[in-house]
Symmetry: C2
Subunit: 491 residues, 2 copies
C-alpha cells in the first residue's frame, strides 16, 4: 500500500474493495510544512494551541454540528482529543470529550487460545457497522503486528492498543521487560498508525501494598504485569520513570495517551478505594506532564462500581486530571451476572456517561468467561449504543432526542417499517415482530401480537385524539419534519 494515495485495494472475504483514505492529502501537506519549519510535533493539541483549525477539527465540527473554533479550543484546553495518528490515513476523524457526543469503544483482538486474522477483521466490521466510535486491538497471541496491520488498514475509526502486551510477547518472562524494548514496540506501532496507546504509567510501587485489602487484587492486565515487574526488581514503574521519552515519541506521530487505570477495582467491593484514587492522582500529574509537550491525553476509568458511587468517579477524575476526557470501562454495578455483563455494565455506563464520561468502553456478555466472538461483539455494541445515547439525552445535548421522537411517532402511527428503520438494530426489531405476524399485511396493521386489535392502547388513543380535536379544538403535534430528517439520516 502507499500511504500517499487516496485509497488502497484490499482483499477480504474473497472480494477486492477500496478502503478510502480521507486524510492522505492533509497529512502530506502537514509533513511538507514540518520540513520547512523543523517543528515535527504533529499532535492536534499542538496545532490547536497555535490557534490553528486542522482539517480533522473541521471534519469533527461538521459531524458533531459544533463550531470548528469550539473544537479547537476544547482540544487546546485538554478537554477533548482527536486520536489521529499521521500514519492512519484511512481514519475518519472523531472527537472524544465532554463537549461532544458520548462515544463507545469496542475491544477486539485474539488471545493465545483462540482467534485468527479473518475473525478479527469480521469483529472489526461488526463493531464499526453497529456504531463503535473507536476500536482497541488487544491481541496477545499469534502474529500480533500482522493482525494489527490488517485492522489498521481496514479501519475508519481510531485504533487503540496496549503496547505492553506485544512487549511481553517478545520476552520469556515478565522480569525481562525493559524501557528499551518498550520504546522499540511503541515506535513500531506508532509507525503502523495506532491512534492511541493505553499506558499504565500511574501504577507505582508504593501503591502495590494498598491492594492487599481487596477481594480481587489487580484486574488490569497491564497493571498486574507491571506490579509483578516492580515487585520482582524492587524498582519503580519504568513507564513512569521514562514518561517524557514516551511523550516525545507520541508527539511525532500524534498518538494520544490513554492513561491506563492499572489499579481499577475488579468487583463492587473494591470500588473507590485508596489504591484506585492514589493512581488517579498520579495520572493527573502525568496528564500535565504530557500537556507540556502538547500530547493529547484521556484517562481510563473503572470497572466495577455500585450505582451510588458512580458520580463520585467522574467528579474525582475531573478534579484530579484537570478535565482530561474520561474513558470508562462499564462500570458493572453488580458482580453476580456473568454471561450478562453487557447489561450489568450498560447500567453503569449510561449513568457515568450522563455524569460526564466522554467515552464508554463496552463489555460483552463473554466478559469474565472467555474471548468474545462476533455475536458477543454485536451484543456489546448495541448495549453501549443504548448507554451512550441515553447519556446524551440526559445531558440535553441539542438534537439528541430527535431519533427517539421520530421512532415514537412512527410507533404511534403504526408505521412499522419506519419504526424498524429508525431502530438501533433494524433486522432484530423486524424479525421479532415477524415472529408472530410475518405477513406484509401487518406492516400497516394498527396493532401487534402483544395486545391484538381489541386491546391496542395506541389504537384507542388515536380515537381519543379525535375527541380532543373535535371537543376541545386541540390538534396533535405534527412531527412530520423531524421524522423526515431522521429517516434521511438513517438512509
Amino acid at each position: 500500500m502507499s500511504a500517499h494515495g487516496n485509497g488502497h485495494t484490499v482483499h477480504a472475504n474473497g472480494n477486492d474493495y477500496i478502503v478510502p483514505k480521507p486524510r492522505a492529502e492533509w497529512i502530506v501537506n502537514r509533513k511538507k510544512e514540518a520540513e520547512r519549519t523543523g517543528d515535527w510535533n504533529m499532535s492536534q493539541m499542538h496545532f490547536a494551541r497555535k490557534g490553528l483549525v486542522t482539517e480533522e477539527m473541521s471534519f469533527v465540527a461538521h459531524k458533531e454540528k459544533l463550531a470548528p473554533e469550539f473544537i479547537r479550543d476544547e482540544i487546546a484546553a485538554g478537554r477533548m482529543i482527536i486520536p489521529a495518528n499521521i500514519n492512519h490515513p484511512e481514519l475518519e476523524p472523531m472527537a472524544i470529550g465532554v463537549g461532544s457526543l458520548c462515544k463507545i469503544n469496542a475491544n477486539i483482538g485474539n488471545s493465545a487460545i483462540t482467534s485468527n486474522v479473518d475473525e478479527e477483521l469480521r469483529k472489526l466490521h461488526t463493531a464499526v457497522h453497529y456504531g463503535a466510535d473507536t476500536v482497541m486491538d488487544l491481541s496477545t497471541g499469534g502474529d500480533i503486528p500482522m493482525i494489527r496491520e490488517a485492522i489498521l488498514r481496514h479501519s475508519p475509526v481510531p485504533i487503540g492498543t496496549v503496547p505492553l502486551y506485544e512487549a511481553l510477547s517478545r520476552v520469556k518472562k515478565v522480569e525481562d521487560l525493559s524501557i528499551d524494548l518498550y520504546l522499540e514496540v511503541i515506535e513500531e506501532q506508532a509507525q503502523q498508525g495506532v491512534d492511541y496507546f493505553t499506558i499504565h504509567a500511574g501504577v507505582l510501587i508504593q501503591y502495590v501494598p494498598m491492594v492487599s485489602k481487596r477481594i480481587t487484587g489487580i484486574v488490569s492486565r497491564g497493571g498486574a504485569i507491571l506490579a509483578q515487574w516492580m515487585t520482582s526488581h524492587h524498582k519503580q514503574n519504568f513507564l513512569y520513570e521514562n514518561f517524557d521519552r514516551i511523550t516525545k515519541l507520541l508527539a511525532k506521530y500524534d498518538v494520544s495517551y490513554s492513561l491506563g487505570d492499572g489499579l481499577r477495582p475488579g468487583c463492587v467491593a473494591d470500588a473507590s478505594d485508596e489504591a484506585q484514587f492514589a493512581e488517579l492522582k498520579t495520572l493527573g500529574e502525568l496528564t500535565q506532564q504530557a500537556w507540556k509537550d502538547d500530547v493529547q491525553v484521556m484517562i481510563e476509568g473503572p470497572g466495577h462500581v455500585p450505582m451510588d458511587k458512580i458520580k463520585e468517579q467522574v467528579d474525582k477524575e475531573v478534579e484530579l486530571c484537570h478535565g482530561a476526557p474520561f474513558y470508562v470501562l462499564g462500570p458493572l454495578v453488580t458482580d453476580i451476572a456473568p454471561g450478562y455483563d453487557h447489561i450489568t455494565s450498560a447500567i453503569g455506563a449510561a449513568m457515568i456517561g450522563w455524569h460526564g464520561a466522554a467515552m464508554l468502553c463496552y463489555v460483552t456478555p463473554k466478559e469474565h468467561l472467555g474471548l468474545p466472538n462476533e455475536k458477543d461483539v454485536k451484543d456489546g455494541i448495541i448495549a453501549y449504543k443504548i448507554a451512550a445515547h441515553a447519556a446524551d439525552i440526559a445531558r440535553h445535548r441539542p438534537g439528541a432526542r430527535d431519533r427517539d421522537d421520530a421512532i415514537s411517532h412512527a410507533r404511534y402511527t403504526f408505521d412499522w417499517d419506519k419504526q424498524f428503520a429508525l431502530s438501533l438494530d433494524p433486522d432484530t426489531a423486524r424479525s421479532m415482530h415477524d415472529e408472530t405476524l410475518p405477513d406484509d399485511y401487518y406492516k400497516e396493521a394498527a396493532f401487534c401480537s402483544m395486545c391484538g386489535p381489541k386491546f391496542c392502547s395506541m389504537n384507542w388513543s388515536s380515537k381519543v385524539d379525535k375527541y380532543n380535536e373535535e371537543v376541545h379544538g386541540l390538534k396533535k403535534n405534527d412531527l412530520t419534519q423531524i421524522v423526515t430528517e431522521q429517516m434521511a439520516l438513517r438512509g
Copy 2:
C-alpha cells in the same frame, strides 16, 4: 381441588405433582375468627393496624431478615404491602415496600393472536424459576378465567391482573362497559384468589385533553380503554366514581390495589408531563380513601423516562401518594432500541430502584414488537434481577453485597464451578466459558480464553499478594465464611 387441604395434585407436562399450600391453615383460622367477631375485613393492613403480626408477616420477616414488628408497622403505615388473597393458599407470602428488598414482577398472559394455557404455565414456571417475585396474568384472549385458574393454582408468588381486560372481553364494544359488569368480574377474580388488581381509577375525563401535546398519547391499555369510554359517554371514569364499592370488595378477600398509571408516558419526550402528574395526584387521594378501609395499595409508575428525570419520579410519588409502595414499569431511558428494551429499561429500573421504587415490572426484548415467548420472559427476568440487585447494593441494604463478594472471591481464586453456581444464570455462564475451554481440566485453570495463561491479570495479581505478605506483612482478606454462607443459600 380443596382450598382447605395442605396441597393439591396437579397435572402438568405429563407428571402429577403436589403444589404446597403453606397458607391453608392460617386462612381457615382467620375465617373462624371472623365468624366469631363478624369482622370480615381480611386485609393485612387491617390486622397490622390492630397491632397483630399475622403468619404472613412472620413469614416475610423471616425471609427478609427483618423484625416482624417492623413489617407490621410498615404495613400499618401503608409503606409496605403483602399481596395475599385469602383464596390463594398456594402463596408463599412476600412483601413490597421500600423497607424490604427491591422486587421484580413478570408479565405473562396471552393475546387474541397467540398463546395457550400450557405455554402460559411454562412462562410462569420460567418466571418463578429465575426469580420473579410476583407475576401478572395479562391475558386478553381465549378462555381468560381458565388460564387464570391454572396460573393461580400453580403459583407460589402473588398473581396480579387488570380486571378491565376480562370485562372488555365480555362486551361487544368499549362503550358497553359498566360498573356492574366490572364488579361482577372483580368478585369472580377475587374468589379465584388474585392477589392484586391494577385499577386505573385515576384517569379522569378532565385529564384527557392534556395528552394532545404528547407524541404517543395514551399507551396504557386500561387508560386508553377508559379514555375512550369517558369521551364516548361524556361521563367521569366509572372506577373513580365507584371507588368505595370496589374497596369494600377488595377488603373481604384482601386483594391489594395496584393503582394503575393510565396516563404514563409512552416515550421519553412525554415523560413527567402535566397529564402524568395530574393522575398521580388523584392516585394519592384514592390511596388515602382505600386506607380508610385498611385496603393495601401500591402505585404504578412509568414507562419511558430519561435518566435525568428518574429521581423526580420517586420523589413526586412519595410526596403525592403518602409513601405507598411505588411499582414501576422500566422505565426505558431511550426509545430507539426495539428488540433490546429489556436493556434500555433495566438501566432506568436499576436507577429508580436505587432511588426508592419498591417493585420493578420487567420489560422483555419483545416489548413494542409482539407477545413475549418463554425465552423473552427469561431474558426479561435476568435483566430485572440485575437491576433490583444493583438497587439493593446502592441502597446499602445489610447483606446485599454478600453474593457479589462471594462470586468475586471465587473469581479471584479461579474456582470456576463456584463462580457459575453463584451467578444469576449458572447454565449460561458455564456454557459461555465452555465454548472455548470445554475440558474439565480448565475448571481449575488459573486463566480463561479471554487472556490465556500468560496474560491473566488475576494470575499475576496472586503473585503480587505473596510480595505484599512477605515484604509488607499484609495478608489478603479471608472470605471463606461469606463464600460458604452464600454457597449454602444457593444450594
